[in-house]
Symmetry: C3
Subunit: 260 residues, 3 copies
């Protein structure tokens, strides 16, 4: 029942790559481009028209790009005007608004809500229920855990919209809230339930409400068997599942040109 | 693919106003009334039957009212027995249970869950992922940010059900939890990640877990360019996007009769 | 529009019990077994194929079992390879991954995300927006409130996956986060917004971030009318709605053999 071509609607203005599978009850709107070897599961909407669609008779749908080798799981809604690199992946029932720009190998978990006008680097990974407000910026290899909220209004309601910025390799644990304009450096760990109110220097651990720098990620001991006396962070030396340095190590990958 | 009348099912007992557009795969059950010039997007369910529908052969669906000029975005489920004033708006994949009563110009964000038996005034605005428990009461111009939870059971599980009450113009920031029966006054600001355990007087800022009164909203300086030495709150004098006093100012709007 | 047999797809390899109703636009995949007198509402997916379905031409769908007298509400997605006892119930738009094993009379609220490889006893009840990470274990009569997160990675990202364990009758209040491997005993109360970092002995109340034991559940006075001078907990003596001891009391139910 995924790929039977039942109740599938594809705009004649969409460009569908080679060997793309599209699930039942899925809609592909005007000016969507889907890269080769991608899968869009059932009940998805790709290229959802923007608000002006309802009022403007001359509405033209902006271009939406899904990179090759992507997997969009069921019930996902992606607005027109967003672009995703190759190997993009979503969970179920994801909502992504317009002007969301992601690099390659990004994944967005089940029930996430990305509000648009955001930029992600490569290999970012959002777990379930992540809410990214407008004008947020994530570097590369940033992982965000459930119920994290990137906010952007310093005294609501206002017309100011300043999102947080997160540096490469940083990890944002469950239920953290990033206040508007917060700058989290590289290789940081934002703890569970933390409210990030100030800037966080590279390699820091921040925790509490209001969030305070409580240490360095380098101080965190590994809980892996046989590695208990070593630092776990930077995690790039201890974790490679799904990473481009898998099997060769981070340093060799960089030496080889950081190919993604 | 929104308004092609494909797989749309409208009960003959529903009353659909003039110039209403209904999206594909949407279902309108018995005794739903949809006001003129409204849009119901695709894959919505309006007037979802209550639990007794499954067991009672003589089940009659209660009346559901969607005011005129409303916009219900895709995958929204609204149970029978709720009523919404004009210019009602939802995001995607919203779930609203029975006996939800909202005034005019209310909006409910993507992935919200409203558990029913709640009352909202006019111009309330819920952002994404807001959970409103039964027997909550919101005044007018109350804005609620992501992951906020209105609770109602003082020692779970019990049969006691006492929701929080929020006064006009108050702002409930992300990840706040309101404990059962909490009374938040008018013009308050509940901070990010706050657990509201006691009553909050008008114009207060409350923060922390347990939430404590940490100041007055009037003490918060504006971050708007050129206004840095002025109070931002009451926000009604500094924000008018989508508000009925847009272009004329709050005081003039009141003077003119507070027309909504 | 629920049970008109429109756009329903049931695999010939599925086993559907007697008097089962299946809603419109619902898909039942291979090797799903649905018990007698169950209801699966519209737009559901039962037995969603696992990831290997996309790459393995010889893929066989694992067995999925829904017990008798179950009620699966609309837009729910249940992956293949999970098993649920009788009287299973879901809210709307629930996502449950593979290898989720639940006893009888469990319910999973609207917009929950169960990540699979978890075990629940009987009569567990998840409210809305609960996220249960892999390798979590819930006893019997465990109730979990909105936005609670069961985590499993002690220093993300890593390959370690150790979920929390919750004892019988414990209550996990809204917005709590359970850190990896946390052991919560029986008859505990985890307070709102708590981060559980250590083990919690039977009958304890834990609160704060980091969570600390702040008292005994037995110290909590009832707020029920006329019972103000008595302990509310253990709640099994004060609450029986939907419980197997309804009308006879917990002790008599145990005396009679704890039949579920």
């Amino acid at each position: 029942m995924k790929f039977n071509n039942i109740n599938v609607h594809i705009s004649p203005l969409a460009k569908i790559g080679k060997n793309v599978k599209i699930g039942d009850n899925t809609i592909i709107y005007d000016n969507v481009e889907i890269g080769d070897d991608s899968i869009v599961c059932n009940n998805c909407v790709i290229g959802e028209p923007l608000n002006s669609y309802y009022s403007n008779d001359n509405y033209t749908n902006p271009i939406t790009v899904i990179g090759k080798n992507s997997l969009i799981r069921s019930h996902t809604i992606i607005y027109a005007g967003s672009r995703f690199g190759h190997h993009f992946m979503t969970g179920h029932t994801v909502i992504i608004r317009e002007e969301t720009i992601m690099g390659a190998h990004c994944s967005v978990g089940t029930l996430c809500d990305i509000e648009g006008y955001v930029t992600f680097g490569n290999y970012c990974r959002l777990h379930s229920y992540v809410n990214i407000g407008q004008h947020s910026k994530l570097g590369n290899f940033v992982f965000v855990y459930p119920y994290v909220n990137f906010t952007n209004d310093p005294h609501p309601p206002s017309t100011i919209c300043v999102g947080p910025t997160i540096g490469d390799f940083s990890q944002i644990a469950a239920h953290a809230v990033l206040l508007p304009g917060a700058q989290v450096g590289k290789n940081c760990l934002v703890g569970v339930n933390t409210t990030v109110v100030n800037d966080v220097p590279d390699g820091s651990v921040v925790s509490g409400n209001p969030g305070k720098i409580v240490g360095r990620t380098a101080w965190i001991r590994s809980k892996e068997e046989g590695k208990e006396n070593t630092s776990y962070y930077p995690w790039i030396y201890n974790f490679d599942r799904g990473m481009p340095w898998k099997g060769i190590g981070y340093d060799k990958w960089v030496e080889d040109g950081s190919k993604i």
